[in-house]
């Protein structure tokens, strides 16, 4: 089976390289037969990466410890689900997962574009297949997931206990889907540059891919945050680790792109900027992949392998240089079609939004690479950790939230003073009232009151948008209000889906501000029967129990919880020790409600039953996860196909490209 897998990788490499060249030549020379061959090459490359993936999965699930990768990441006692998840747990397996996703997405692009975008698709395939060839080449010649051991061990090492969590099943694949997903809009942008079709076709064709990649990356980050919060046991959900930052940066730039393409679609402006944004977003995806695998930045998430760093750096350099060079060559053809009608318009506010989003990404990038810069310039190692990122990005994100409230209130093209006054009155009044109320009631620091005021402003602004739309439908069409809300949303899914996403972001921000600014913690060592007090909670330690569960030795502490004199029941926090592993896994006890989380960690214990705990009260954390669910809903609505809009696509979109034979797919 390892031989089959390796053969599939090598054959896949050859096929992908051929397909990349054939697609390009077919498109340039308008050779229909060659394009048909290249199309088949895309399907073949997908088939071969699927065979390689199936061979690795077979090894992972059947404990074929003659394969080094299988021996390193699975064990006989590990559940099959986690043996499956080992596919993306290590360097070589995750590269294969990357390649498989890329080949799958390439096929989906072909299938979905049978009737549209025929000028662009061959170039899109050329780009995705070239990237696929590079990944398969890396595996074929430098990081072989099917490398065998001279002697197969009796059992494998299994996953790190911290990875033995449902988060491992969903969080990494989501991030990979985001990273790989951004390949497709990037490929469309490059296709537009090569083909000279520099209008909005490539944006329309790749819009859902962008949304999908953006959403997958965002959800992947949220799932990672949830995992860290429930498993790592430090009471936080975001550690500003270089690898976390690496997945956050393309999301921020992708967010900027999703906004700025609206200006190009509506006004024919920002063509250069949009191509630049997608080049940056994809380059940051490669940067994130490189950071995780090169070990150039110190991170708890990384799994570095010898040649991975230089190979990814070479790819990143080639992608950046090639795409920027192409953009430079096309600059004269990328002039804006129209101009701004007014300084105060939604277009201007979107530009500001882009500036802040890209600025936030740059601030995080700068902080991530500053240690390297410091060492190069001064020869002194420095660290850029959470305090820096919180302090630098906090004001930028606050400004973004403010802008999120302002944008819907300003009309496209030109906003009159009368409109502005009318639209701003209520949100502004509520925002100011929130700040005054919170400060009068003693909230400190001032930044927290300001942040909540901005959130109130932004939330009111978005709710007003819904209110006006619903009222218009009620008055104009006599619709019942309960019916008018879903119909309003369904009638313009991108617009109202987007607003729902904004509501999700506001809820996430609410949780972040509450938990970052007002968390309380206490550490205590207590004997059975003694109590720990934090805010209005009283925790009474009942005692320790130890037991075996599967392959794990577990030590658990039980505490009774009271809040304001009322019993809330018992909580259990534990540490579990996997056989053959020194490091235990912490299972924290979290009692969550909309107001706050009571977060209890068992830190240690002694023979006499005395135990040490760290207890935190983290306000409003639940809203982060609720916000994530709302974001999911909003994205799904915005993503949903609009049959009427597609049926009315410009005619040029549905006509076969000149000189190219119609597709037989």
């Amino acid at each position: 089976m390892p031989d089959l897998g390796y053969a599939a990788i090598l054959t896949g490499f050859v096929i992908a390289a051929y397909t990349a060249v054939a697609s390009f030549v077919a498109a340039r020379g308008r050779v229909g037969e060659l394009w048909l061959s290249a199309r088949n090459g895309v399907y073949a490359a997908f088939g071969l990466t699927t065979v390689a993936s199936a061979a690795l999965l077979y090894g992972l699930l059947t404990h074929d410890f003659s394969i080094k990768y299988v021996a390193e990441y699975t064990s006989r006692s590990q559940s099959p689900v986690y043996n499956f998840a080992a596919w993306w747990a290590g360097l070589e397996g995750s590269l294969l997962f990357w390649a498989w996703l890329l080949s799958l997405f390439s096929v989906i692009v072909l299938v979905l574009s049978r009737r549209n975008n025929r000028e662009l698709i061959p170039y899109v395939s050329a780009v995705t297949m070239a990237l696929l060839a590079y990944f398969l080449g890396m595996m074929g010649f430098a990081m072989n997931p099917f490398e065998t051991l001279p002697v197969a061990p009796a059992d494998g090492m299994g996953l790190n206990p911290l990875l033995d969590n449902p988060g491992m099943i969903f969080h990494p694949p989501m991030l990979y889907m985001g990273y790989v997903g951004f390949t497709i809009p990037f490929a469309f942008a490059i296709a537009a540059l090569i083909s000279g079709r520099l209008g909005s076709d490539w944006i329309r064709a790749s819009r859902r891919w962008t949304l999908f990649a953006w959403f997958a990356l965002g959800l992947g980050n949220l799932l990672g945050a949830q995992w860290a919060y429930t498993v790592l046991g430090w009471g936080g959900y975001w550690g500003w680790d270089p690898v976390e930052n690496a997945s956050f940066m393309p999301w921020l730039v992708g967010t900027a792109f999703l906004h700025s393409v609206m200006i190009q679609e509506r006004r024919g402006m920002l063509k250069v900027w949009n191509i630049l944004l997608i080049i940056i977003a994809f380059s940051l995806c490669l940067f994130g992949t490189m950071v995780t695998r090169s070990g150039i930045l110190s991170s708890v998430h990384s799994f570095s392998g010898g040649s991975a760093g230089p190979l990814f750096l070479a790819l990143l350099a080639a992608v950046a240089a090639g795409s920027l060079g192409l953009l430079w060559l096309r600059l004269p053809a990328l002039r804006s079609d129209s101009q701004l009608d007014s300084l105060v318009s939604r277009e201007s506010s979107f530009l500001l939004n882009n500036l802040l989003l890209v600025g936030a990404a740059f601030a995080i990038f700068w902080g991530s690479v500053f240690p390297l810069l410091s060492e190069a310039v001064r020869g002194v190692k420095t660290t850029v950790g959470p305090p820096f990122f919180k302090e630098v990005t906090g004001p930028i994100f606050l400004a973004l939230l403010l802008l999120m409230g302002i944008c819907p209130l300003i009309g496209w093209r030109k906003a009159s003073a009368e409109n502005l006054a009318r639209n701003f009155l209520l949100p502004l009044a509520l925002g100011v009232a929130t700040a005054v109320l919170l400060l009068a009631l003693g909230m400190r620091p001032f930044f927290a009151a300001l942040a909540f005021a901005v959130l109130a402003f932004a939330a009111t602004s978005i709710l007003l948008e819904f209110y006006r739309g619903v009222r218009a439908r009620h008055r104009g069409r006599g619709e019942n209000y309960a019916i008018a809300v879903p119909r309003l949303i369904w009638a313009n899914k991108p617009r109202y889906g987007g607003y729902i996403v904004h509501v999700g972001v506001i809820l996430i921000a609410l949780g972040v501000v509450g938990s970052q600014m007002f968390a309380t913690n206490v550490e205590a060592t207590v004997k059975p029967g003694e109590t720990i007090q934090i805010r209005n909670y009283v925790l009474t330690y009942q005692g320790l129990t130890s037991y075996t569960e599967g392959n794990n030795e577990i030590v658990a502490a039980t505490l009774d919880v009271q809040r304001g004199g009322q019993s809330l029941g018992s909580i259990v926090t534990s540490k579990s020790f996997a056989a053959g592993r020194e490091e235990p896994r912490t299972d924290v006890a979290i009692r969550s409600d909309p107001r706050e989380d009571l977060y209890t960690i068992l830190s240690g214990w002694s023979e006499d039953g005395t135990a040490s705990f760290k207890v935190l009260v983290n306000p409003l954390v639940m809203w982060i996860w609720v916000g994530g669910a709302v974001l999911l809903l909003g994205t799904a609505i915005a993503f949903w196909p609009d049959a009427r809009a597609e049926a009315r696509l410009p005619v040029t979109e549905r006509v076969p490209a000149k000189g190219m034979r119609p597709s037989h797919a």
């Binding site: 680790d241 300084l343 850029v384 206490v522 107001r595």
Partner: protein, 170 residues
């Protein structure tokens, strides 16, 4: 009915406001003034075990003896009456600048703190200039109209219609 929705939305916002007040005005564990606590410093110093985490995070999430002994050192320094800055200096002397979780706001470290904001400010200036330029050099109305008709999507037309309907109804 719309008034009822508006009132309902406002009440919901006030309820959230009340929740915020209840949550955030509760007594805090930490004090702003007075001698520093171990917690004040464990977030600002990096564990030296190679985990790449702050002392606070490493201490809670890993079985690490290094973070424990560093926390004990912090307590000793506090007991000696040192302030936060002096304790940070003590650790820098022992482990080098990399022990600080963020660069100092002086010398070369100042670049880390200022460059992001200077870049955004420069970008803001460039954006403002571009917006002003674009607004000033408006293209001929006829050309714009033609371009719009050709390039604008269905979405824009729909939203414009919604805006017009709203205006007519209000």
């Amino acid at each position: 009915m719309p008034r009822a929705i508006l009132i309902g939305a406002l009440m919901a916002l006030f309820a959230v406001g009340g929740l915020l007040v209840a949550v955030t005005t509760a007594p805090q564990g930490a004090t702003a003034s007075g001698p520093p606590t171990v917690d004040d410093l464990t977030d600002e110093l990096m564990c030296q075990c190679g985990c790449g985490m702050t002392l606070a995070n490493c201490f809670e999430s890993m079985e690490c003896t290094v973070s424990g002994s560093m926390a004990t050192e912090i307590q000793q320094q506090i007991d000696e009456g040192k302030n936060k800055g002096e304790i940070s200096d003590y650790f820098v002397a022992q482990y080098g600048e990399a022990v600080l979780a963020s660069p100092r706001k002086s010398g070369f470290g100042l670049a880390a703190w200022t460059i992001p904001f200077l870049t955004i400010a420069a970008g803001g200036g460039a954006t403002a200039w571009l917006v002003w330029l674009w607004a000033r050099r408006r293209s001929p109305r006829g050309h714009r109209a033609a371009v719009r008709a050709q390039d604008a999507g269905l979405l824009r037309r729909y939203e414009d219609q919604v805006d017009e309907d709203l205006k007519a109804l209000e």
